[in-house]
């Protein structure tokens, strides 16, 4: 095996699929990106410390501002939280691992390589227009640098990573909880992750669609976001539909974590925990109808702005409940101010300030003055650094003993908190007072009077940044030399504390069960955790002795690397002329990536990979739904949003365009009708294939699959002739640019889905010929059918949209 070429210690980290090791990889990588993005920020603060400064020129400043934002939001906040989620959640819900361990490893490697890509973009001139990537500045005309392509590729890769990860967690948390562990019995942290995943599932497809359209605009010269007929507002809508839920996506894990840390250190149960969870769900739902507050001054009209003012102000109510619940928890408590507790309480205090100032920005009247100023910067840093990062640092101190088996130095950790908290406020509070200063400017004139507050903020930045050295030193030295922590140093109640520290590779000797009265039953039937009873101090700090080497796979990293090469090749090509249409991708990398991708896909599907199958508690409505099927359903849910955005974008450009070709002028109704007929028939043949598999008829199954493949190919043949015909008639002219753009993109994306489905039929056919699927093992045929019907249904929507109206 190829994995033998690496020594075990390295192999373990490259090929692991163990949720704990993947979790550690996530944590370490996200902290690395945290340092990188933090250094960018400190450089910017240095530049802004005095007026008319020029240590960082404007071009570079704009790149720093953009990459700092992108890194912190996509590559630090969520992965930091999901590092904990990976390590802790299976332990807290009593699962052996995540539902799809190899997929989990793949999520991580996609994340890592996407981060490498975004940092690599500096080589080519990194994106320099703010993390919001406003249109039409992203068009090739205004930003011809390759760096933006690389940045967009990085965003596509991390979206893939996040989608895989959310499907994985969703299935795990619905299907693999310990017997008797009802959803409502889960601690708040898993709840927060669950709510976060749902937001991810519905927000990220919108972002993926937007970035894909942008990518195609830039590479092939289409007109979605560069058209003056609403391109800028189309981006605004699609981006912020994702962007606002994203704010809560990066915040909720920290809130959940704080809600679990506080009861442990105050020695009292969380006040009104069910209301906290209900509030999270409410806030998550409302987060999808507030995006207009990012567009208050784009001219969306008085009524809309008022509506968004109300929804946005309303979203503060659930947060109100969460904060009050945490504060009421302190009543009659016994508060131990350990570092984790200090950071948790500090995060709440800072979050309160961030929340109150958020209400200012929710008011459309005030937003006309505050939009694009440092008041906004101060507000969201109080939320994202004050709430999220401080909360996640609380988690770092809280779970450090569990993950390493050793204690950190408490005194240094407390000093770290005090300096961080003071530095934080010196850094960000002056920005509230800089409410006239535009954000994202490289410098300012002395007569603006902004100098002294900026100097103060820079001072605070260095205090806050410097304090983090204490964190890293403390943790780095302690994981080597700290005193052994024992299984439960904080006397916590959640399940992870019942296991030895560090947690052995296989987690639980036997999965615990939870009785009706809320007591845990551990392996020996007693309510005494067997893990801690057999803690062996000699093994502390030596996770290797426990790690399950049998669960390793080289394919996740190879596949992620293949995708990385592929997108890099697509991105770093040289434009051969100023017009984007003649843009040439870098074929060698694309070829390498594709070949490697095919190899790894083959390896992945051929690999004998066994994970522990345990008895699993399954509750309605998922009782009868196996893991894979639930995974596919959630994946299709995300696909619905994805195509929804594509179709929505089509409607948007169509209603904003002054002219649109008449029915039948560009697209032949006859062709469209033929394709519809062919595709609908293929749904029937897919059903026939499944029916044959169920009755064990191999011949029928082969016929059904062959027919499905043939009909898919016919569909693509008609489509291709139509594309070629339209292409040769110069459809990409200015007059019908938008109709052509929306047609090619939407049907093209659908076509890719058809091709993917045909690949699946080939795979299924090959296995059928080897005699599979006809002996009651027809799950794969059924899963393929689900996917294929979905693709057909999408076409049923596309046909009338493009051909009939």
């Amino acid at each position: 095996m190829s994995q033998e070429i690496f020594p075990p210690r390295i192999r373990r980290w490259l090929f692991t699929t163990n949720h704990k090791e993947v979790g550690i990889l996530y944590l370490v990588t996200s902290l690395f990106f945290f340092i990188a993005a933090g250094l960018l920020a400190l450089t910017m603060r240095t530049q802004l410390s005095v007026p008319n400064n020029n240590v960082l020129n404007e071009g570079l400043y704009n790149q720093f501002v953009t990459v700092h934002g992108l890194l912190m939001i996509f590559w630090v906040l969520s992965p930091f939280a999901f590092g904990f989620a990976n390590y802790i959640i299976p332990l807290q819900i009593g699962a052996r691992d995540l539902a799809f361990p190899r997929l989990n490893a793949m999520s991580y490697w996609f994340y890592l390589f996407s981060g490498v890509a975004i940092i690599m973009s500096f080589i080519f001139g990194a994106p320099d227009l703010g993390w919001t990537l406003y249109s039409p500045q992203t068009s090739f005309q205004f930003t011809p640098t390759i760096g933006l392509n690389v940045g967009a590729a990085a965003l596509i890769l991390i979206t893939v990573s996040i989608t895989m990860s959310s499907v994985n967690f969703l299935v795990t948390m619905f299907k693999m909880r310990a017997p008797g562990m009802k959803l409502r019995n889960m601690p708040v942290f898993p709840w927060a992750i669950l709510v976060t995943i749902f937001m991810m599932l519905y927000a990220f497809p919108s972002f993926l669609a937007a970035v894909l359209l942008l990518y195609v605009d830039r590479s092939f010269g289409t007109f979605y976001f560069s058209s003056i007929q609403g391109g800028a507002l189309l981006w605004d809508n699609v981006f912020w539909f994702f962007g606002h839920p994203e704010v809560y996506i990066v915040l909720f894990p920290a809130i959940g974590l704080i809600a679990d840390v506080i009861p442990t250190f105050t020695r009292r149960p969380l006040y009104g925990s069910k209301y906290v969870i209900a509030s999270m769900i409410a806030a998550a739902i409302i987060s999808f109808i507030v995006w207009g507050h990012h567009m208050f001054v784009t001219g969306i009209g008085l009524t809309s702005t008022k509506l968004y003012t109300v929804t946005t102000i309303a979203v503060s109510l659930p947060f109100d409940v969460m904060v009050i619940a945490m504060i009421e928890t302190l009543i009659k408590a016994r508060i131990k101010l350990k570092a984790a507790a200090l950071f948790a309480l500090g995060a709440i205090a800072l979050f309160v300030i961030g929340g109150i100032t958020g209400v200012y920005l929710a008011s459309v009247a005030l937003d006309h003055a505050l939009r694009g100023t440092y008041f906004v910067v101060a507000h969201f840093h109080y939320i994202m650094v004050g709430g999220s990062i401080m909360g996640l640092i609380a988690g770092l101190y809280y779970w450090f003993p569990k993950i390493t088996g050793r204690m950190y130095n408490e005194a240094i950790a407390r000093i770290h908190f005090v300096i961080s908290f003071i530095g934080f406020n010196i850094l960000y509070f002056p920005m509230f007072l800089l409410l006239d200063m535009p954000r994202r400017i490289q410098t300012y004139a002395p007569d603006t009077g902004w100098g002294s507050l900026n100097s103060l903020a820079t001072l605070g930045g260095f205090i806050f940044g410097g304090a983090q050295i204490l964190l890293f030193l403390n943790l780095f030295l302690s994981q080597r030399r700290g005193p052994p922590s024992g299984p439960n140093p904080w006397d916590g109640w959640t399940l992870e504390w019942s296991l030895p520290s560090p947690v052995p590779g296989h987690d639980f000797d036997t999965i615990p069960t939870i009785a009706e009265d809320g007591t845990y039953r551990f392996g020996n039937g007693s309510s005494y955790p067997n893990g801690s009873a057999r803690l062996d101090d000699s093994k502390v700090g030596n996770g290797l002795a426990y790690s399950h080497l049998e669960g390793m796979s080289p394919w996740p990293i190879v596949m992620a690397f293949a995708a990385f090469l592929f997108f890099l090749g697509l991105s770093i090509g040289q434009p051969t002329s100023p017009t984007p249409v003649s843009y040439k991708p870098f074929w060698p990398l694309i070829a390498d990536g594709s070949i490697l991708g095919v190899i790894s896909l083959y390896g992945y599907s051929r690999e004998r990979f066994s994970v522990h199958e345990e008895t699993r508690v399954e509750s309605w409505p998922f009782r009868e739904v196996p893991n894979v099927k639930l995974g596919i359903w959630t994946f299709l849910g995300a696909e619905v949003i994805f195509f929804g955005v594509l179709i929505g974008a089509y409607f948007f450009v169509r209603t904003n365009s002054a002219t649109w070709p008449a029915v039948g002028e560009l697209f032949s109704i006859r062709n469209g009708f033929a394709m519809t007929l062919v595709l609908l028939t293929s749904s029937l043949t897919a059903i026939m294939a499944l029916a044959s598999a169920k009755i064990g008829s191999r011949r029928g199954l082969i016929a059904g699959l062959l027919a499905t493949f043939g009909l898919g190919a016919s569909f693509l043949y008609i489509k291709a002739t139509e594309w070629i015909e339209l292409g040769t008639h110069g459809v990409f002219s200015v007059a019908n640019g938008l109709p052509a753009t929306s047609y090619f993109i939407t049907t093209g994306t659908h076509g890719v889905h058809v091709v993917a489905g045909m690949c699946m039929t080939v795979y299924l056919l090959a296995n059928t010929l080897k005699g599979r699927y006809t002996k009651g093992d027809h799950d794969a045929i059924e899963h393929f059918g689900l996917y294929w019907h979905f693709v057909d249904i999408v076409w049923v929507f596309l046909f009338p949209l493009f051909y009939l109206i």
Partner: protein, 231 residues
């Protein structure tokens, strides 16, 4: 603080209301938090409460729906005040139909407009990478210098010739996005003569930092003299 325009007055009043309430709420929350942390800090002699969550069982639930309801009701009341005051402000600042522009009153060419009490033409603002162009109805254009008469209503149509910009008059506390293919309208009444800063508030490329213009609020006679002689 100096009064410079109607928009600034509206902003300052509203900002004042928000800040007063924010301070009250903030002080209550932080005082409560601080008090509870000090009051219930663990000491050597204190022992864990009876309902301390322990490993081995789901913690007992705690807390009343009643308290949550009280909190939410109180907050809703406070937020309603903020919504109502905000709506009043925005109805004035950004009505669907802006008030009659009066900047041209007193200029001979617009005598009829003034007598009939009609609106003066709107002034056009166009953002370019990286400068502002101001166009008057007599087709006079100015780069990065915008002259208006004091104490009269000015209505602007703002757009962009290229990328996404944002037109903001800093001291007037007012701004709107400048987007290619769209026109956004804002209006204001300058109260005090002098120079004010117009700046782009949306990162629009390398050069954004210098996308600054001057708003020159002139005494009415001076403006009229300048406008009639401007070509």
């Amino acid at each position: 603080m100096a009064v410079v325009s109607n928009t600034q007055v509206i902003f300052d009043n509203l900002y004042g209301i928000f800040t007063d309430l924010a301070i009250v709420v903030g002080v209550i929350v932080f005082a409560l938090m601080g008090y509870l942390i000090i009051r219930y800090r663990a000491t050597r002699s204190s022992s864990d409460p009876e309902d301390t969550p322990r490993l081995g069982r789901i913690p007992t639930s705690r807390g009343h729906g009643r308290n949550v309801l009280i909190t939410v009701t109180l907050s809703t009341f406070l937020l309603a005040v903020l919504i109502i005051t905000s709506f009043a402000a925005v109805d004035t600042l950004f009505p669907n139909n802006p008030p009659n522009a009066t900047w041209c009153y007193g200029i001979a060419a617009y005598n009829q407009t003034q007598v009939a009490g009609q609106s003066c033409p709107r002034l056009d603002v166009t953002g370019h990478q990286f400068y502002w162009v101001f166009r008057y109805p007599n087709n006079h254009t100015d780069l990065n210098l915008f002259r208006v008469p004091a104490n009269s209503t000015v209505v602007l149509d703002v757009t962009s010739a290229d990328v996404f910009h944002d037109f903001g008059i800093i001291q007037f506390k007012i701004k709107t996005d400048a987007i290619q293919g769209r026109t956004n309208t804002i209006w204001f009444i300058p109260y005090k003569t002098g120079n004010y800063t117009i700046q782009c508030f949306e990162l629009c490329g390398t050069g954004h930092v210098g996308m600054i213009a001057t708003l020159d609020v002139m005494p009415v006679p001076d403006f009229q003299l300048w406008y009639t002689s401007a070509k």
